[in-house]
C-alpha cells in the first residue's frame, strides 16, 4: 500500500488543478497548498487504523444488502416515455442552435 506523502508541493497543486480543469490565480495557489496540507495532515490520522482485512464500503445500501441489484424492485421497465421538453433544456444552454450545444474550437494547434 502506498504511503501518505509528507506534504503537497505547489507543483502538485498545479497538477491536480489541471486534472480538475480548475485555473488557480497566483494568490490562490499557495493558499490552497496550505489548506490541503492542513487537511491532509488531519486525514493522515486514518493510518492509525489497521484496515488490512476490512472491506471497503462504497455506499450503505450495498453494505446492508438493500442494493437494487439484489431485488430488482427499483428497476423500471425499459419503455419509451415522455422526457423533459428539448426546447426547455436548450433554452438553458449558454450557446445553442436549438438542437446542439455550441462550444469554442475543440482541436487546439
Amino acid at each position: 500500500m502506498s504511503q501518505t506523502p509528507a506534504g503537497v508541493s505547489l507543483d502538485e497543486v498545479r497538477h491536480v488543478a489541471d486534472l480538475a480543469n480548475l485555473e488557480l490565480t497566483a494568490e490562490e495557489l499557495p493558499r490552497m497548498a496550505r489548506d490541503l496540507n492542513a487537511i491532509l495532515g488531519h486525514i493522515a490520522e486514518l493510518n492509525q487504523l489497521d484496515t488490512a482485512n476490512v472491506p471497503p464500503m462504497a455506499q450503505v445500501a450495498e453494505a446492508l444488502g438493500f442494493a437494487p441489484a439484489t431485488s430488482g424492485e427499483t428497476l423500471r421497465p425499459d419503455t419509451i416515455r415522455p422526457s423533459v421538453d428539448r426546447t426547455l433544456v436548450m433554452a438553458e444552454a449558454p450557446e445553442t442552435d436549438g438542437r446542439f450545444f455550441k462550444v469554442p474550437k475543440v482541436i487546439e494547434r
Binding site: E23, A63, L64, R76, E92
Partner: protein, 484 residues
C-alpha cells in the same frame, strides 16, 4: 374575511385546518408569508428567489377544492420553502453558486412534486452554502444567511436558509439536504427540528449532487409532529431514482405519537468528550433525565471509531464532489466564461469564475485523493474506515433502540469566526458526519438554550429505516421540553 395567524408558531395541522374550514384562504396565507418575508428577510437573507406565481396558482387550486368540500391533501395550504439545490420548475436553482446563476431547471425534483401534490404552497428557493459545502452558510455566493435567534451569528450550514426561514416564521416547513450534517447542525443552531432520513428513504431525483453516497433530502419544521407529516409525504421509492429504497414506509405521524416507555437509549461516550460546550452537555443530560422519567432505560454505548469520522468524510465527500461537479463546465447550462477561444480554456475559465474558494478547495482535495498513486492511501482507506464506522452503529443498535447525543460541540458561532481556517470549520461536523457515513437516520430536536439565549439541539439517531423510533424519542424530548 381572513383570520390572521401567528406565522412564527404556526403548525401544519393548525394551518391546514384553518384553510379547510375556510377561516383563512390558502392564497391569503401565502400572501401573509410573502408580507412577512418582505418585512423580515432583508435582514436574515434566507430566500434567494420567490416563486409567487406558482405559489398563488396552487393556493387558488387548494381554495377551490376547500370550498367544494373536496378531500384535501395532508399539506393543503402549507407554505414551504425549498433549498436552492433542488430543482423546481419555473424558479432558478443556483445551489448558492455563481456557476449556476440564472439556471432554471426544466423539471421538478420528485420531493418538490410530492409536496405540491400533497397540497403544499411552494414559496420560493432558500439560500445555502455553495453546492451545499459548508457549516455556516458563509459560502453562499449570494451572501450569508443570519441566524434569526441572534443576528450576529451564523445559522449553520449548509441548509442555513432552510433552518432560518422556519425559525423566523417565513414558511411553515422547508426542505434541506444533509451530506455531513447540513440539516441537523443548522436545525440545532436555529432552534428548529431537522430530520436526516435514512439513506434512500426520500428520492433525490432533481437534487444537484454533491456526494452521491451521502446526500439526503429532509425536512425542517417547528415540531416533531410536523416533521413526521413531512416524512410521510416525502418517503418512498421513485422510478426516477434507483437509490430511493423500496423498504416499507410507516405512518410516521402515528408512530411519533407512541409512548417511549421501555425503549433502550444509548449514550455514546465518544460524543461527550473534551471540546463539548458545558451548557450543551447539561441540556442533553436533562433530556436524558426526561427520557428516563418517561420510562426509557439509559445505557452507555461505544462508537470507538468516532474520531476518524471527520477525516473519512472529507476524503469520501470531496472525492465524490470532484466527480459530480465536473458537469459544471459551461456547456449545457449555467455560466460560460465570455472570452475563451478554445474548449479547454472555456472549461477552465468558466469554472474559475463560477466556483467559490471552498468549492475549489474541495474539488482539489477530491481530485488529489483519487489521483494516481494516492487512491489506495486515501480513498480506499477511507472506504474501509467507513465500514468500521458503520459497524460501530450496527453493534450499538444491537443493544439499544436509539442513540442520544449532541449535534454540535458548540452553539451557533459568530459570522466570520471560522472562515479563515477550513480545518476548524470541518471539525464543527464532528458529531454529525458518522451518521452520514453509516447511512442511518437522525434528527435534531431543540432541547434548551444557553444563558446567552442561543438554541441547543439534541441529536437522536436510530438504525436504518427506523424513523419511527427516532421520531418517538424526538417527540418525548420535545414534550418534556415544552412542559418545563
Amino acid at each position: 374575511m381572513s383570520e390572521t395567524l401567528n406565522l412564527e408558531t404556526l403548525s401544519i395541522p393548525a394551518a391546514r385546518t384553518a384553510v379547510a374550514e375556510g377561516r383563512v384562504t390558502a392564497a391569503a396565507l401565502a400572501e401573509q408569508h410573502y408580507d412577512r418575508i418582505a418585512a423580515v428577510d432583508p435582514e436574515i437573507h434566507s430566500y434567494l428567489a420567490l416563486s409567487r406565481e406558482r405559489a398563488l396558482k396552487q393556493a387558488i387550486k387548494i381554495d377551490t377544492a376547500a370550498k367544494a368540500g373536496d378531500t384535501l391533501g395532508p399539506l393543503a395550504g402549507i407554505a414551504i420553502g425549498i433549498k436552492d439545490v433542488l430543482a423546481m420548475q419555473g424558479a432558478p436553482a443556483t445551489a448558492g453558486s455563481l456557476i449556476l446563476k440564472g439556471y432554471h431547471p426544466p423539471y421538478d425534483a420528485t420531493c418538490v412534486a410530492k409536496l405540491e401534490a400533497a397540497g403544499a404552497i411552494l414559496l420560493g428557493k432558500l439560500n445555502c452554502d455553495e453546492f451545499a459545502m459548508g457549516s455556516s452558510n458563509e459560502n453562499s455566493a449570494y451572501g450569508p444567511v443570519k441566524n434569526p435567534r441572534a443576528l450576529d451569528r451564523v445559522p449553520g450550514g449548509s441548509s442555513g436558509g432552510s433552518a432560518a426561514s422556519v425559525a423566523a416564521g417565513l414558511c411553515v416547513a422547508s426542505l434541506g439536504t444533509d451530506t455531513g450534517g447540513s440539516i441537523r447542525q443548522p436545525a440545532a443552531f436555529c432552534g428548529v427540528v431537522g430530520v436526516l432520513p435514512t439513506y434512500g428513504r426520500i428520492s433525490r431525483y432533481g437534487l444537484i449532487a454533491f456526494a452521491s453516497s451521502l446526500d439526503r433530502v429532509g425536512p425542517f419544521t417547528r415540531s416533531v409532529a410536523d416533521a413526521a407529516t413531512m416524512l410521510e409525504v416525502l418517503s418512498g421509492p421513485d422510478t426516477l431514482d434507483a437509490t430511493a429504497s423500496t423498504q416499507p414506509t410507516a405512518s410516521y405521524t402515528t408512530e411519533a405519537a407512541k409512548p417511549v416507555s421501555g425503549l433502550r437509549i444509548g449514550v455514546p461516550e465518544e460524543y461527550f468528550g473534551e471540546g463539548l460546550n458545558p451548557e450543551i452537555r447539561a441540556a442533553i443530560e436533562k433530556s436524558l433525565d426526561d427520557l428516563r422519567a418517561a420510562g426509557c432505560t439509559i445505557h452507555k454505548v461505544s462508537l470507538p471509531h468516532t474520531k476518524y469520522a471527520v477525516p473519512t468524510y472529507y476524503v469520501i465527500a470531496t472525492a465524490e464532489a470532484s466527480s459530480n461537479l465536473s458537469r459544471m463546465d459551461g456547456v449545457r447550462f449555467g455560466h460560460r466564461s465570455e472570452d475563451s477561444k478554445t474548449l479547454s480554456s472555456m472549461y477552465r475559465q468558466s469554472r474559475d469564475e463560477g466556483f467559490g474558494a471552498e468549492v475549489k478547495r474541495r474539488i482539489l482535495l477530491g481530485t488529489y485523493v483519487l489521483s494516481a498513486g494516492y487512491y489506495d492511501a486515501y480513498y480506499r482507506k477511507a472506504q474501509q474506515v467507513r465500514t468500521l464506522l458503520t459497524r460501530d452503529f450496527l453493534t450499538a443498535f444491537a443493544q439499544v433502540d436509539a442513540i442520544v447525543c449532541p449535534v454540535t460541540p458548540t452553539p451557533a458561532f459568530k459570522l466570520g469566526e471560522k472562515t479563515d481556517d477550513p480545518l476548524q470549520m470541518y471539525l464543527e461536523d464532528i458529531y454529525s458526519v458518522a451518521a452520514s457515513l453509516a447511512g442511518i437516520c437522525g434528527m435534531s430536536v431543540p432541547c434548551g438554550t444557553t444563558q446567552a439565549g442561543l438554541p441547543i439541539g439534541v441529536q437522536i439517531l436510530a438504525k436504518h429505516f427506523d424513523e419511527s423510533t427516532m421520531l418517538r424519542v424526538g417527540s418525548a424530548i420535545e414534550s418534556a421540553q415544552l412542559s418545563r
